[in-house]
Subunit: 230 residues, 2 copies
């Protein structure tokens, strides 16, 4: 291995997903730095010398949202030498899932307060299906992240990280429908999800306008790969 120091910097970029106002949303920041002034991008930054990539992305997430224990997963390393006009930067993309409060509440930020820094001129939630023009190769990252999220949803229990501790099956199904962007049959979804044995019925019932729905909770609130998904 060559001993000459490489002049390569390493960064992480995070696609922070949440389900809010009947849409799948991500956090974008508005850049100040040229040549992307005014353009939106995923939050990110260089990693510290003694920090792993996981730690760096966790830190980045905490700085922007205050959330400390999200679902977090490495996506892909983007490394085109020309991807950053300001020098050689390799970016490792991550995606995170956070629960931003009531699922179909209107016009709420769901308790998550986004934190602006002086490095950016703005920060906000954007519908993944209606993203603005993005800086760098972040359009690729978005595509990749959505693909991975949809894929993971089918064969893991990661949905727990988008929901409060207790929820109805309709709320859970709604999360699936929003992420997969297609309707799911209520009855078939219920049978399928319950057959996976990853939910526990609680004695409680929803309070609401119609017939009260039973509340469920995840047996395990950490990533588990579902067995027996063909």
């Amino acid at each position: 291995m060559t001993q000459i120091a490489q002049s390569i910097r390493v960064a992480v970029d995070i696609v922070i997903f949440t389900v809010q106002d009947n849409a799948l949303k991500v956090i974008l920041i508005r850049m100040k730095k040229k040549p992307f002034t005014g353009i939106w991008a995923f939050p990110g930054g260089l990693i510290d010398s003694e920090e792993s990539l996981d730690a760096a992305s966790k830190r980045e997430l905490r700085e922007k949202t205050g959330v400390r224990s999200p679902y977090l997963e490495q996506l892909y390393a983007f490394s085109d030498p020309k991807r950053d006009p300001n020098g050689r930067v390799i970016s490792i993309a991550y995606f995170a899932l956070i629960n931003s409060g009531p699922i179909s509440s209107k016009g709420t930020d769901g308790g998550i307060k986004l934190i602006t820094t002086t490095k950016y001129s703005d920060i906000g939630w954007f519908d993944v299906l209606k993203l603005p023009k993005l800086a760098y190769d972040h359009k690729n990252i978005a595509k990749y992240a959505l693909q991975r999220l949809r894929w993971k949803l089918e064969y893991t229990n990661i949905a727990y990280s988008l929901l409060p501790s207790r929820f109805t099956l309709s709320e859970l199904r709604r999360v699936y429908e929003i992420i997969l962007d297609r309707p799911l049959d209520r009855r078939n979804f219920q049978r399928k999800i319950l057959s996976l044995k990853m939910l526990r019925r609680t004695p409680k019932k929803q309070v609401g306008r119609h017939r009260p729905a039973r509340l469920y909770e995840f047996k395990v609130r950490k990533p588990v790969i579902i067995e027996g998904v063909s």
Copy 2:
């Protein structure tokens, strides 16, 4: 983003798979550098300043095997600050698939000549199920690579890169059995693989000791994700 130069170096490590002598094998090199003198590791090295990770791993593969157009895929970025005792190095793992010649030939290197460099004391093929002690976090890489390969085999056509242009269904099935490490029913495998419509019958037949088998070829010899795999 901090403008202070990070003292982080970036490397790629490649898990080069082939099917040979009825086993799934990978290339390992024997290290000279302390503290891993004499220990085996996956081939790899620092990337050049103006080189993408894909290009770096392709170069590494070419240097070790002479192979120029393998199947190549990024696996994961390993970034524990303590993973390399000689300094901060982030390694992006790749896996490659190459065809090393006749599938069940005995004691052959299948036409692929492994190239030793002065940086290493030895190079060779190892059965993935019987790996020696590995340097760094390469045991993790091995586990990850095998998992990804098995996964990909089920829902893509990547098997083409392990086979010659024409092959019998038995040879193809053998490749699947070796990689998945379990027997597959001959008749069910045949029906399944033909239903995917990714193979083309050729008029040719195998020469051999028993009833001649029909030879098939892949319609497309580049990565394709198989539709309709549930």
